[in-house]
């Protein structure tokens, strides 16, 4: 009885149609173009695999390369969606659990939805299957071995998603888990410069074991038919299915509210913490002071902001290491490593602070329009908060660099600070406009997912280079005139231009907010469908 499963998919389809049919045509076209481009690349990869796999002379090569490709497919399907902060589509069990649906049906839909996290890999696998089908040296049933392999990936992905989702629902653990994941993303980069540790070599050599799933699938897909390989494939598939089903069942019984409450105490915050929170109020008169304090309290308590802030001085440092330290001692990137990392952290912070500064605390947004405060003050308070966290981020980056023995001097710190402040001025100015013209509801509890609207994210491809132009000019001036004075001179002029730009954009954003109040409030009140995209 799949009536309910079909109804869920139908409702999700209607949700998407309603969402896109009421949005702007331009945004829809852009979304389609990006999808065509991205999946087109994957399709080209699939075609290349098909050409390679169809050539009878290349069977020995496929034997050697197949396990690597399948291992890549598995890791891409399981890990990359997490690292790209895209969890794909999945059932919103909280909304569906009240209905009389068999859990097996829900699990079936959930597993099917896992396809959305690995469509690229499905295209590659389809290419491989078609190639092998054409290849006269491969038995007809060879490509069908990919079916259990895809099933293994889907069920494993469903299990991992459930496990991770529950882990991330717990306070504190969430930040640590996300941080570990993003650091994991940076691991390959780090290994590039440090090389594989000796202690890790035996582990890596074990990845070539004959009965590991990628080796088994390659062997069987190419026509091998030893019984042990079939048993191994069945065992791996069954294990993945069992894991997925087990985790899904635990998800059904999971009480997120109770989990969140585990580490919650009713004790009031400590005096010193409250004193810290109250500093902004002393720096600016009310209402800006009160708004500034509220923003600092809100952002420092938002899991999503905290994780991005943490990433700024951990992940950013690692991810730029190979590029910066590949060159010689005098290379530009190496000598400006601190500035580079600071600017990258600033880009990360943008997603959770200035690009969508209304959507992030959507529940408060109506207040900004009904309180007897000028909207200018609201935006200034939000921008001051952003500035405060940028300064804290720079301090944290410099401290970590110093702790791990990076070449840090006071001049370097001051340079990073100056560059970051100039860039912040421009980015925040554009962010105010973006927040008013492209408001998007964002959940501060979600440790991942993009917060700004996709249209605006597309615009950022242009905005980032434009905002960075004054900084680039400053570096060019230093290079051309071989003078620090020229560098800081250009930055000084940029500050003047930036301040003017900031005020113009602020006034524009305030005017636009007055005109678009209803649109902003409506946009920030949107919910989701039975499947969370």
């Amino acid at each position: 009885m799949w009536i309910q499963a079909r109804a869920i998919l139908w409702a999700q389809w209607r949700t998407l149609v309603n969402f896109y049919s009421r949005g702007r045509l331009g945004a829809l076209i852009f979304a389609i173009l990006i999808s065509v481009l991205w999946y087109g690349l994957a399709a080209v990869g699939g075609f290349a695999c098909a050409v390679l796999a169809s050539d009878p002379k290349r069977v020995p090569l496929i034997h050697r390369a197949g396990p690597g490709l399948l291992m890549f497919v598995l890791f891409y399907w399981q890990i990359v969606p997490i690292l790209l902060t895209s969890t794909g589509a999945s059932l919103d069990l909280r909304r569906l659990i009240v209905y009389p649906i068999r859990h097996a049906q829900l699990f079936g839909v959930e597993v099917l939805l896992r396809i959305t996290t690995g469509i690229e890999m499905l295209l590659v696998m389809a290419g491989c299957a078609i190639g092998l089908w054409i290849n006269p040296r491969i038995p007809w049933w060879g490509p069908f071995v990919f079916l259990p392999w895809i099933g293994l990936n889907l069920t494993l992905s469903a299990g991992l998603k459930g496990l991770l989702g529950r882990l991330l629902a717990r306070r504190r653990i969430r930040e640590i888990a996300i941080l570990l994941l993003v650091l994991l993303a940076a691991l390959p980069q780090l290994l590039l410069i440090t090389g594989l540790p000796v202690s890790a070599k035996p582990i890596v050599s074990r990845l070539d074991g004959p009965y590991l799933p990628w080796n088994v699938v390659t062997r069987l897909a190419l026509g091998g038919s030893d019984l042990l390989s079939w048993i191994a494939l069945a065992a791996w598939t069954a294990a993945a299915f069992t894991f997925g089903w087990w985790q899904f069942h635990r998800d059904l019984r999971f009480d997120a509210e109770a989990a969140r409450a585990q580490s919650h105490t009713d004790e009031p915050p400590s005096d010193w913490l409250d004193w810290l929170y109250r500093i902004p109020s002393r720096l600016a008169p009310d209402p800006i002071g009160a708004l500034f304090e509220k923003e600092v309290r809100f952002l420092s308590r938002a899991p999503r902001f905290r994780i991005v802030f943490l990433m700024g001085f951990t992940f950013s440092l690692i991810i730029w290491l190979p590029i910066a330290f590949r060159g010689g001692e005098d290379s530009f990137l190496r000598s400006n490593y601190l500035t580079l990392v600071t600017l990258y952290s600033l880009m990360l912070l943008g997603e959770v602070s200035f690009w969508n500064n209304l959507g992030f605390d959507r529940s408060a947004v109506q207040n900004y329009f009904v309180f007897p405060v000028r909207f200018t003050h609201v935006l200034i308070a939000k921008n001051l908060t952003c500035l405060l966290f940028v300064l804290l981020e720079i301090a944290a980056v410099a401290t970590v660099c110093a702790l791990v023995g990076m070449p840090i001097t006071l001049a370097r710190v001051l340079e990073a600070l100056a560059v970051a402040l100039v860039l912040t001025l421009f980015l925040v100015a554009v962010g105010n406009l973006g927040s008013v013209y492209f408001p998007r509801p964002a959940d501060p509890k979600q440790s991942w997912r993009n917060a700004s609207a996709s249209r605006f994210q597309a615009l950022l491809l242009v905005v980032h280079p434009l905002c960075a132009a004054p900084v680039v000019l400053a570096y060019l001036a230093r290079y051309a005139f071989e003078s620090q004075a020229a560098f800081y001179g250009v930055l000084g002029v940029s500050v003047l231009v930036g301040v003017a730009f900031y005020w113009v954009s602020l006034e524009t954003a305030v005017d636009a907010a007055a005109r678009r109040t209803e649109d902003i409030v409506t946009a920030l009140s949107q919910g989701e469908g039975p499947v969370a995209a």
């Binding site: 009885m1 139908w10 309603n18 909280r94 209905y99 009389p100 109770a258 919650h264 919910g527």
Partner: protein, 255 residues
Amino acid sequence: MLPSTEDSPAIRVSHLIKLYGDKAAVDGLSFTVPRGCFFGFLGPNGAGKTTTIKMLMGIAPPTSGSIELLGLPIPARAENVKARIGLVPDESLLFDHLTGLEFVEFVGRMYGLDRAVAAGRSRELLALFELDGSPRKLIGEYSKGMRKRAAMAAALIHRPQLFLMDEPFEGVDAVGARLMKEILLDQVRQGATIFLTSHVLEVVERLCTRVAIISHGHLVMEADMADVRSGSETLEDAFVRVVGAERSGNGLDWL
């Protein structure tokens, strides 16, 4: 052989406890709702009403204790029970990007109705609740009262035997509320049981045949409405008395 469930009460809750961390949101709650009863479940803010109704709906698992709905234990027989229950949950369970018609049809199909039947009944229910005026309007664009009416329409689509309703009249205008009350009373006349939470005590007093009051997770009163009415007290008086919330003035000299 399964025991007969027809003679069992509509709801039987025994020693129900729900802990959030160290804090008990519901603390040893026990009550029974007979079949065909219009049952009002009352309490001040934070008393544990929504937590209790969430446990009845199967959204939040109890820490301990037992729940029986229509004679069947929850969660062991949840699937069988859910098919016979109509829910008017809080707003978070609605789907904002569906139209009212699509949402009610979706809920019908979730209860296993054939697509054509669900679509037909959805149209009729939307007309009954006067939500058919703007068929392209999304639930996200509905007013609070319209959202409650949409939830109510969805709750009725499969003709349930038991209704679990969390603040069903919240935000509903007088005309809509009158319509909803008439439909609910009609359902009770036909043998259905209604369990509702509400802060509007006048509505509860007029509709319900039995009430329970919960405070700090404990049951502090359970009585037939006739008994409440027989004294000199109104339900509001009784409520204020048992939850211990009587105050004189606001105590703030600047106000």
